[in-house]
Symmetry: C2
Amino acid sequence: MNLLITEDDPLHRAFLKTAVENALPECDQVFEAENGAAAVEIVKSETIDGIFMDLQMPKSNGVDAAKEIWRCFPEMRILFWSNYADEAYVRGVARIVPSGAVYGYLLKSASEDRLAFAARGIFVQDQCIIDREVRGVQQRSENTLEGLTDAEFEVLTDISLGMTDKAISARRKISTRGVQSRLKHLYEKLGLNRSVTHSDIGPVFNSRTRALTVALSRGLLNVDGLASYEMELEDWLAKK
Amino acid sequence: MNLLITEDDPLHRAFLKTAVENALPECDQVFEAENGAAAVEIVKSETIDGIFMDLQMPKSNGVDAAKEIWRCFPEMRILFWSNYADEAYVRGVARIVPSGAVYGYLLKSASEDRLAFAARGIFVQDQCIIDREVRGVQQRSENTLEGLTDAEFEVLTDISLGMTDKAISARRKISTRGVQSRLKHLYEKLGLNRSVTHSDIGPVFNSRTRALTVALSRGLLNVDGLASYEMELEDWLAKK
DNA sequence: GTCACATCTGCGGGTCCCCGCAATAGAACC
DNA sequence: GGTTCTATTGCGGGGACCCGCAGATGTGAC
């Protein structure tokens, strides 16, 4: 069995390598990549059976790399390995995992035991292993009450790029009034009207920008994700 | 000599500890803290001569902890130790370092040699050691042409919190027109009018939110910083 | 079928934001 | 004092955004 470790931090990479060698003695060879692009190359040139994938990496984050890898090898087993259980990452991963693929999501704070267990589960027994904490975020985001619907999340990413209502309506093929309607629901779910938004000088917050602040601090969005969304937007602008 | 290592990641903490023991044999004791609040406590209860301070930590980031420590011990020597040379961090540190204090700023990508050199420079010879890359960011931000003035940066933090023009004008004690004037300069420096902002359906971007996207992706702002700014804003709202 | 529920749409008006223009105030320098 | 440069202010207008209301459309349950 050949595994690939994709992780930019050399310290974590070394730790992961020895941990893997201990947990999976049946593993023949461990490849290493320090960013997403390098990982894609290795997967294409070598025969790889499973991947450890860091999500936070400078340039070419883990989600984009995994997307490209799954596009070529839909049954590749990938264990995501992240500092945070940010909803942006969880959603990002959930959006690209092919149906039937085996994958896992583990936090870096997990003990070495948990890491070994998850690795065996995924790479040997073909089982999906999702960290409990991550699972919590996943369920919360599926819950329509406090979670965002896909439409609301979509409009959130659009305003996070700085798009105008009119541009969003063109991109998503709904009326501008429809955009505003989605925004209104988004603002409600983010609790923009619940917090102290008024003082003696009138409203303190601008909903549109305040929504971004709240979404960022709650981990609904993150800066890595913005770069990906930006690229999608450029594609759309180009063919428009 | 007693040193304190403040770093949330156990792997990095252990690495730093052995590196310090090698580089500074005259060091008697090495304390460890895994977040900013714990660091402040240790500094107050033990006699500490110098601190390694990680900037990215979940809850209570390094800048706030250093601020509190320097408030009590203005001559404390602190070596900041960060993943990124984000302008937000560089500015954040520069804003709180007391005049005459000895400090350093090193990137985590630095080699162990550089780390040892910086540690000896700061804790033994009382010299400020700033990573070349960080120094570059510092100078760029001091350059009025491509860097932001303090006024522009201030208004950027305010809109990043989602404040309205009127609220900003009350907080900063200038007219709303003054706020808009600062914003206009900010937009120019961020290059919002240079990029492709128009298409056949009219303007694609809303300046206010687009400014946030650009500032975040350039590292002028970061999410850790938002939390600090938010607290300052709450203080102001409370006493208003 | 129809009832309930969610989503999208058009209209209208109130507010906020962006900005050009011109005048003013202050700082730095000769 | 005079000059120049930068930051701020007031005015005014055009556009973008937020939202309540009412009507249309679509979907799933019974």
